[in-house]
């Protein structure tokens, strides 16, 4: 992709994306096996995270990575019109990287095996750096099946030139 197109695309996305709600709600089923395998990646051994009683385990804090990334990927499927043509937000998945993440568990309840989470998100600021790498903020509120908040997430994703 030539420099001029990259610049044009960056300007277009900076105009159209801020404040945009990520369409639809993303659902995430917290399965016992997934939670246990996830905790094991970090050598966690506490039975509260990896115990054999599926009804009693809770998700380790890092499990927030598992569900927050789902909306992040979903966002990449957004399509819109640019100069009369339909285009995807993300043109090359391989050029997408995480730049920063913040998880806030203030006033949140624990995630238990079997919980069904719903995520809603909104796009915040969009900017580019001197190398024309695009950055974007994504804010998520994650609730369980009872409508209780389980996590607030702020992600900054970045896409290399040619990927947007």
């Amino acid at each position: 992709m030539d420099k001029e197109t990259i610049k044009r695309n960056a300007e277009f996305l900076q105009e159209i994306l801020p404040g945009m709600k990520i369409p639809g709600k993303v659902k995430f089923h917290c399965k016992y096996k997934h939670m246990v395998e996830f905790a094991k990646c970090f050598d966690l051994t506490d039975p509260k995270y990896i115990g054999s009683d599926g009804d009693k385990i809770i998700a380790c804090p890092a499990f927030a990575n598992a569900f927050s990334a789902k909306l992040y990927v979903n966002m990449a499927t957004i399509q819109f019109e640019q100069n009369g043509k339909i285009r995807g937000f993300l043109l090359d998945f391989k050029k997408l990287l995480h730049a920063a993440n913040e998880y806030d568990w203030e006033d949140c309840v624990k995630i238990r095996a079997g919980d069904k989470l719903t995520m809603e998100g909104e796009i915040g600021d969009i900017w580019v750096n001197e190398k024309m790498r695009l950055f974007g903020e994504i804010f998520q509120r994650v609730k369980n099946q009872n409508g209780e908040l389980v996590c607030k997430v702020k992600t900054i994703a970045t896409i290399a030139p040619g990927g947007y």
């Binding site: 890092a62 998945f93 993440n101």
Partner: protein
């Protein structure tokens, strides 16, 4: 037992993990939320990662985050003495196979029962071992050119005497961040 009255500014807690393998990076990538769509191949295929400009597979950006929450969770003994309120981290450089991950949380402020930390997560990447001016062992970072000119310019390249010879390695902060915990007592 962790009590707020026994903590002070500047105090550091530290954790290390020295088993980052291709298999673990791949396993995490499939568990980390992408599984249903397709795991990003830059986490499990060197060729694709190279095409994307990474020189070799890299861990998912949030993989190393798990070791920050583990460190804090171990500190409060899995919520026996407190709870994690907030963790934020910036992913500055990728984490790769063979990297040793060192996570430090340094207390920068204490307000009532809340303890605020600066997080510093470093990677140690082995490059090569030299003896009497000759290279006797090369590690993946050297063979795949993970080390850049900037690493030298920024003073990230260090040496250490070992039994086999002089080890050249890179040490850099890959993920700075912050965290807040609240203690019960």
């Amino acid at each position: 037992m962790v009590k707020v009255s026994e903590l002070k500014k500047g105090q550091t807690i530290k954790g290390e993990f020295n088993n980052i393998t291709r298999d673990l990076i791949k396993r995490y990538s499939k568990l980390g939320g992408f599984a249903k769509l397709a795991s990003n191949p830059i986490h499990d295929d060197d060729k694709t990662a190279k095409e994307a400009g990474h020189k070799g597979v890299i861990a998912h950006g949030l993989f190393s985050f798990g070791f920050i929450t583990k460190l804090l969770d171990d500190f409060i003994e899995r919520e026996k003495y407190g709870k994690i309120i907030k963790v934020g981290v910036e992913m500055r450089y990728p984490v790769r196979c063979g990297d040793k991950l060192i996570t430090e949380a340094i207390i920068n402020k204490i307000e009532e029962k809340r303890v605020f930390f600066d997080i510093k997560q470093k990677t140690i990447t082995k490059i090569r071992i030299e003896r009497e001016g000759k290279i006797i062992k090369r590690f993946e970072a050297d063979m795949r050119n993970y080390i850049s000119k900037k690493d030298y310019e920024n003073g990230h390249i260090k040496t250490k005497d070992t039994e086999k010879g002089i080890l050249y390695y890179r040490e850099r902060v890959n993920s700075p961040g912050y965290a807040v915990i609240e203690l019960f007592g």
